[in-house]
Subunit: 237 residues, 4 copies
């Protein structure tokens, strides 16, 4: 394989981010792994080969500009751009009276301002090459603002607004923009603690998520999907 | 290939229905081709081999019962059930004041009562075998009731209600139920007359629709999609 | 008061229908009370004065034509038309495998074909007089197809499609079309049996529903609402 | 009238904000008029009497805390809290490639962080008094992310997420939370320049908007509406 194209995964943790990186790597992409710290991404880059680990804080405009410069100088042309920052890993549900306004702004920034800023660097090239996909990871909180979930709903809605505006502007220019909603618990140690009796497919499997991202990138141009909701067969909705 | 499983396509015209039948046939399915008249389906069945053409009027309960009996006695076990009756082929937009109530009921029946009745015959076996997909074809009129489109919106909404109720009842029992919304004009001679300057991918291509149906049937169980909206890259929405 | 205008309530039972009739009667409307049987509506008509009880089966086109003729010959010009047929009073949730197709068609007819047919008789006059409202009663099942609720979701979605198509066609012609979604249990003896501990406002009060219908009819023309969801303060959604 | 209760209007310009303030003033409320500059609000406060003009930048947490303190020390108890910051007055549609990330964050802050922070100060008292409404003004961009409208869609979606989360948490505690979507152009000199032939009701009239806000505050507890979309009769949607 020639690795003449890059898949950027912005927000590469050990769950969905890593699975998505692995899946596009197998499809012949060089992968750029963006994360606030490079502890995990460096070892993942070594494992994959043809991969670059880049530190990037998606809530910080300057950090994003530096990451964009690195991607453009060190990686093949970008064909896929994945925004996978969820950062809900440490989230605990709670009344909106207790939300710290500054933390909320940081989280919103990482879900909308950051993806916008990075796209401003990378989209023009994709449009010029007339090919590419921008894939945003959302969650149940992208679909509804629930009691005790304001802290994730507000950033998630801001992300969806960006994705939808981008889709309507850039799909006619040949860029496939999708918003993927993971409507269920994703497989993880923490999820298994809550749901000890869950069967193997009752939690969303990162490798299955990744297969759907690759599918979206390859979806035929006459039948593009903007919003793709994914949930386990057993999930209540 | 062994053809030990059947894909039923209820509503098999020369566009999406035929493409879906061809696609599942290539995947190793026996296909049961249901249509009000068997002129087209007989010749398609001959072309495909391992196919059965069955006349069926989806607005008529008795005709459905007869078709179900034929499927169950002459075909391998049903694994995929596609409801593709649109029947909008002769539709002309117009004020709701001009709709014939009896024609409306016939159209609603073909989109909800009929699919329900056929499912009542075939779903129990699929549940018992713990495997299968039921795929409903929808359209823009499934998403919104527009001026001058009441005649298609009312049946389309009734179909979506059935699909969504079925999904919530049967997904936890292992049956993947999807509602596919074709949000754009489908390639056809008539569509080309309206849009003579459309590029090759500017109209929905039936073979691309069919690829998405096969994808849905094969979607991993931890990441099932209920509603899949498909539209050309250039479509305004 | 002069009673120079009529409010038609199609589907007048002792709950919301009667409350809506009372509220418009107080606003100075003659009320036409349509119901399959005239047992209840006759006594309500006597109570209200300036009211006409008319038998009408909304699933039967001929019965509708007769009712329309009676309204047009015996009542002042129609200014408000309320479709309040729910008929869920005897509904018991259950698997869609047990739905009788013919009963489903009857229920769909009463929720979409019937309201369409009656509107075909009465709307042209309202448009000519450039004034009027058509108000459709919906329910939770208008918003989602749930497991075991297919029998109400399918007719409810068909009703919403009619309302939305009518709104988009007739609002620009000066007719206010609204779809009111009652997203909660309505006060009734049966509801109190299920929820014996419900507070006075925890169930939807028919008089409150009626106040919202009057509000919609009086809503200023520069700020019309199509869909109005009503739910008790305590309701989970 | 006794003016024993306050209506806070956060975002009081000469259009909807002033109309809402006038309407609640007529209903017997003391009104607190929050705006970044007090040029307009001071003169409106003089006109109304029983009104307090308070400078407040809703994108600045410290400014909000100061405004909250002033409201709590100088005004009667808060019963209605209106978030009317749109700030789209200077907005020009344009590609998302040209959005300044820092301006986007400022706008998001004013639509979600700011309303959250002010609510954190004022909601606990409303909950204690078991009475009150929080009303958020939204726009077409709250419903969909359109091409060239990312700059308003992202803040608008963040506002809707806050409103919906707040509704689900606080409605059961007796606070009516609503998100009002103005789906059309609002009457203004600028709007008349775009649409010189618009009739008197073809643009949303601020006094009509205000009447709907008062209606929502008075809506009976058994039939509360969360989202209220308002559009002119002639509007395409």
């Amino acid at each position: 394989m020639s690795f003449l194209k890059t898949c950027v995964v912005a927000g590469t943790g050990p769950g969905n981010g890593a699975a998505i990186a692995r899946a596009f790597s197998k499809e012949g992409f060089h992968v750029a792994l963006l994360s606030r710290s490079n502890t995990f991404t460096s070892s993942l880059a070594s494992e994959l080969g043809n991969a670059t680990a880049i530190t990037c804080d998606l809530s910080d405009e300057i950090s994003i500009a530096q990451a964009a410069k690195k991607i453009e100088s060190e990686c093949p042309p970008v064909e896929v751009l994945v925004f996978n920052a969820g950062g809900a890993s440490t989230f605990r549900p709670g009344t909106l009276l207790d939300i710290q306004p500054s933390e909320l702004i940081k989280s919103i920034s990482a879900r909308s301002m950051g993806p916008l800023a990075l796209s401003q660097h990378l989209l023009p090239g994709m449009v010029e090459r007339k090919k590419g996909s921008v894939l945003f990871t959302g969650a149940t909180a992208s679909l509804r603002g629930s009691a005790n979930f304001a802290f994730v709903a507000i950033p998630s809605f801001s992300c969806k607004a960006l994705a939808e505006s981008m889709a309507r502007e850039f799909m006619p220019k040949g860029i496939h923009v999708s918003h993927i909603v993971l409507d269920g618990a994703v497989e993880s140690e923490r999820a298994r603690q809550w749901m000890p009796n869950a069967g193997p497919d009752d939690l969303i499997q990162p490798k299955d998520v990744a297969a759907n991202y690759v599918m979206l990138h390859n979806q035929p141009r006459s039948t593009w999907t903007f919003e793709l909701v994914l949930r386990p067969a057993v999930e209540k909705w």
